[in-house]
Amino acid sequence: MKITELTLGILTAVGGFVDVSELVFMAQAGSRFQYALVWVIVLATIGMMVFGEMSGRVAAIAKQPVFNMMRHRLGLNLGLVTLIASLISNTITCAAEIGGVGIVLHLLTGFGFVPMAIAATAVFVATIWLLPFKWIERTYGLLGLFMIVFAVALVAIEPPWGQFATGFVPQVPAGLSTQDLLTYSYFAVAIVSAVMFPYETYFYSSGAIEEKWGEKDLGLNRLTTIVGFGLGSLLTVAILASSAQLFGPAGVNPEMPGTAALQAAVPFGRTGLLLALLGMLFAIAGAAIETCLANAYSLSQFFGWRWGRRLKPHEAPRFTLVWLVVFILALGIVLTGVEPIALAEYAVVVSILVLPLTYLPLLLLAGDKSYMRQHANGWIAKTLGWAYYALIVVAALAALPLFLLTEGGKL
């Protein structure tokens, strides 16, 4: 395995880890509950590593993308339900990302939000149309590394490190009222959902097939999911911790996606602000493309159409049509005037409902020796896989009641 390939793979995973939902929920969680939810990010990141690694391994060995196995393992009816729910969830998420990019461009250039959202969507369409898969992934992933400014900013503002460290210990803060306890639980569930978004698995496993992964790529897969996702999640921890330090005491519970950029402006002024906005721009833009392509992958794999960015657009016409339609729909949602933050909230709630259905067939196939041979889940992957499966089922059951009881974490 080439070291350059490995480094690029890891860096791409780091830069592509954060999206608009994470920016919103981490900043709000830090402001509201200080460091008390850091452990949930760690917990969810390990879950993402477990299922991400599994999906990459299944793609490399069994050559099965997620939705192909979903239809075979869940049956047509339940598979179809999962497909529809995923399409809805990904389209809302894509709309939230397009709205987020529109806002960041508006804050960078001063031009109107609507023209910026339309222009961004046009750039996304051109990107997918013109660039091969690897370049799409790498361009946005690597440019998303500007997000590192959030981690540097955290060090610069010198938070109380001892207090910050206690956040890594699972806890329920003492003295919370019943309402606060519900809101704390809502944020915990939302963080699990935002970190373990199902589109990430669809995109990752389809990408592995696009790049023709085989047995030789299992090391790259493991390192990308463990080191890449691990370092990526440090950025989200930094956003939460800076928010605890800067926004909480100021009474700010970020209501606008652009607010997070202030975290870098406080220690580094205009340069920090610019780097933060650029990082947010590319990270969110990458997520917009991923969510859109995830829908095209899902639908094509489910119905057995020709798919992939390795094919020219006219060689996979239905696949091409789907991603174009998804962008148009997502842009249409943004143009109705719904706040991107509200879209991110809905996306997170809908996504957590889809997670159990997404991960069950993956877990079953990754443990099946007839497909996976000696690469089937060992006892560690099996134990972690089922433990996390139980966790996301509980989170999925709790998500909707918590969303309603806390008015989306606002109470």
Binding site: N253, E255, T259, V350, L404
Partner: protein, 117 residues
């Protein structure tokens, strides 16, 4: 598996989500949002006065917050009540950190009063 079961289940969940998404926020949630927006405006104004922000960012954030404050006021059950007037006052303030911070404190007081009732 009976195809009706998942279909019914997804319909129920979809209706719940649609209901949840479409629900009108309670006055308390709206006041909390407005209080935070006022505090965000104050923070942006303070950092802008320290020349730490780019003009496009500062203007965009202030304009966005004002629009959301105006929308928040209209969502209240009584837009011309005490909370509504306080939100309207914060929305009308210039981009000046001091008055905006006071406005945020006023909204925090309204919020505390609602929470105690």
């Amino acid at each position: 598996m009976d195809s009706g079961v998942p279909a019914r289940a997804i319909m129920v969940v979809a209706l719940l989500i649609a209901g949840g998404c479409g629900q009108v926020s309670s006055d308390l949630a709206t006041i909390k949002t407005a209080r935070s927006l006022a505090a965000e405006r104050a923070l942006v104004a303070r950092l802008n006065a320290q020349s730490k922000l780019r003009p496009a960012y500062s203007k965009g954030m202030q304009r966005g917050a004002v629009q959301q404050l105006v929308a928040a006021r209209s969502q209240l059950s009584q837009p011309d009540g005490r909370a509504g007037r306080a939100i309207g006052a914060v929305a009308a303030l210039p981009d000046d950190a001091g008055p905006l911070r006071l406005g945020a404190h006023r909204l925090a007081a309204v919020e505390a009063q609602r929470e105690n009732h």
